[in-house]
Amino acid sequence: MRPRSALGVEALTVEFQGSGHAVVRGVSFEIAAGEAFGLVGESGSGKSLTCRAILRLLPRGAVAGGRVTYGAYSLLELGDAEMQTLRGSTIAMIFQDPMTALNPVLRVGDAIAQVVQSHDGLGARAARMRAMAMMERVGIRDAARRAGAYPHEFSGGMRQRIHIAMALAARPTLLLADEPTTALDVIVQAEILRLLDDLRRQEGMSLLLVSHDFRVVAGLCDRVGVMYAGELVEIGPTRTVLRRPEHPYTIGLMNSLPEAVVDKRLRAIPGAPPDPGRLPPGCAFAPRCELAVDACRAAPIGLSETAPGHWSRCIRTDHLDELRRSLAASNSART
């Protein structure tokens, strides 16, 4: 067994230089060794930046603050060379669009073999064998023949498999996945998610999955964090959060999904997320929240624990039952 580590993210901030405001604001969570954790949020919520900050892959001009630890490493303080070694070998990442992650002029087998060679120091021949074995692991049949093909010769789902094979080739212990199935069709999405789930369990990897789709996270993750306007607004075990959400935004997100109900009106969240430069002084969700009172608008709201391991950034949790009822109604209509 290789040593497994926990990922610790403490008070992480991300700010674009010169903007004067943070777009990730004090995000803290932990992922235990072998655990799958999901970050859910809409575009602009800071979920992808949080994920990229961990591997120090932020866009130009973005600066991370706070603390990120993986085992004994403090990732934000590591030298560039050390970080480069860690990236790929110990912590790997897969992206939404595999085409941007794959080199279009490299045969896919060679691309995977390169990863193996640079991280494990294997010879060319052994690396190629490993590459083919990896392709088979991710469900590509006839790997010997298809290793010689270029990325454009594969369908979107197959490209994502190759991307996954590349990410896992150096046997990382933590995998970061940023919207890995968003560009894929429904049936292919389910297959890729199943593949990720199987590989993660077999390898005992930890997983950080970032998605705008609560359902994707529900299928794959043990725990979930919901992000809004750069902050975690709710965090807890997936099962508990789905059964008894403790933040109005989480309930709103769940209510926004149309299910098998005809002629029943969706309970849409009114308005739009705030501009990160013009956040309200209190709860960032207050302007869209039907439960908001003066205290919500006065000062920032902290996270409080509503059940063991289940935290919510809301002071109106005693009044959530009415909102949850609409959820229960659509839940029962679904089954």
Partner: protein, 329 residues
Amino acid sequence: MLLVAEGLTKTYAHRRGWALAGPGRPAHDAVRPALADASVSLERGESLGIVGESGSGKSTFARCLALLERPDAGRVLLDGTDLTRLGTGPLRRSRRRIQVVFQDPYSSLNPRLTVGSTLREVLLVHHLVPRDQIARRVEALLDQVGLPAGAVDRYPSDFSGGQRQRICIARALAADPEVLIADEPVSALDVSIQAQILNLLADLRAQLGLTMIFISHDLYVVRYIAPRIAVMFGGRIVETLPSGVPLESARHPYTQALLASRSRLEPGWLAGTGGLDAELSASLPTVGCPFRGRCPHAFAPCRDIDPPARDIVQGHLVACHFVTGVSRD
């Protein structure tokens, strides 16, 4: 019937690359049509949902219905007039009656026109209201789609994706259409904004008595807007579920696979999916059933005969030899 499409077919021929062309070689590859023999009919005020994955032909179908694209074969009858036979002038006038809202509200608005100019242009081109009433009509349209009156003098770049989609809907409504086609109108939007736009479309349909064709890759989004659903695969309508028939009663193996693979807001849903190889064949066969390469029930006739759509119970159409039995017509 307000809108009838019969046997719509469209093939995009890709020419062989110059390196492969030459004497003795055909100029075109044999390709499967993007849209093959698609037929639907809608009563005035009725809604139809079209569902399918990328490459299923659903957008080509929409474009042919709105005559944004000329079908290679088949007819589109609007109130009895065959639009495919109209010349450019009469077609332009008729096209006003079928409006389309597209997926990407960023690329489908002219960034250099204010919202007011965008809407005024439609009203002027089609001579829909007297000049002195244009301002009032623009204001009413903005109100109808839930935008503030102050939006008139602003540019698309001032608005978020959801608001831009409202502008696109207002522009479509400005033409006073009888049929509104919405092609993946919420796919580019965030989840919480999607619900707002879906509710808006449902309201407009009810208030204006619009006949609506709503296209999406998501079965449940489609069913929210439209009680009747056509499922497309490989350029064909493989199943039509009439209103009142639950999705779970779908019979076509492809529709069943879509349902089985659907993500749910339940922990552990992933474990219940599977059983279908989505990528056995990346390219679809040019003859026979388009789904046969991935179908668990495929048998010999599926290779040779494209299954015709058959009515299995009132209005529930399925194009599958396995479900309906093979017939020779």
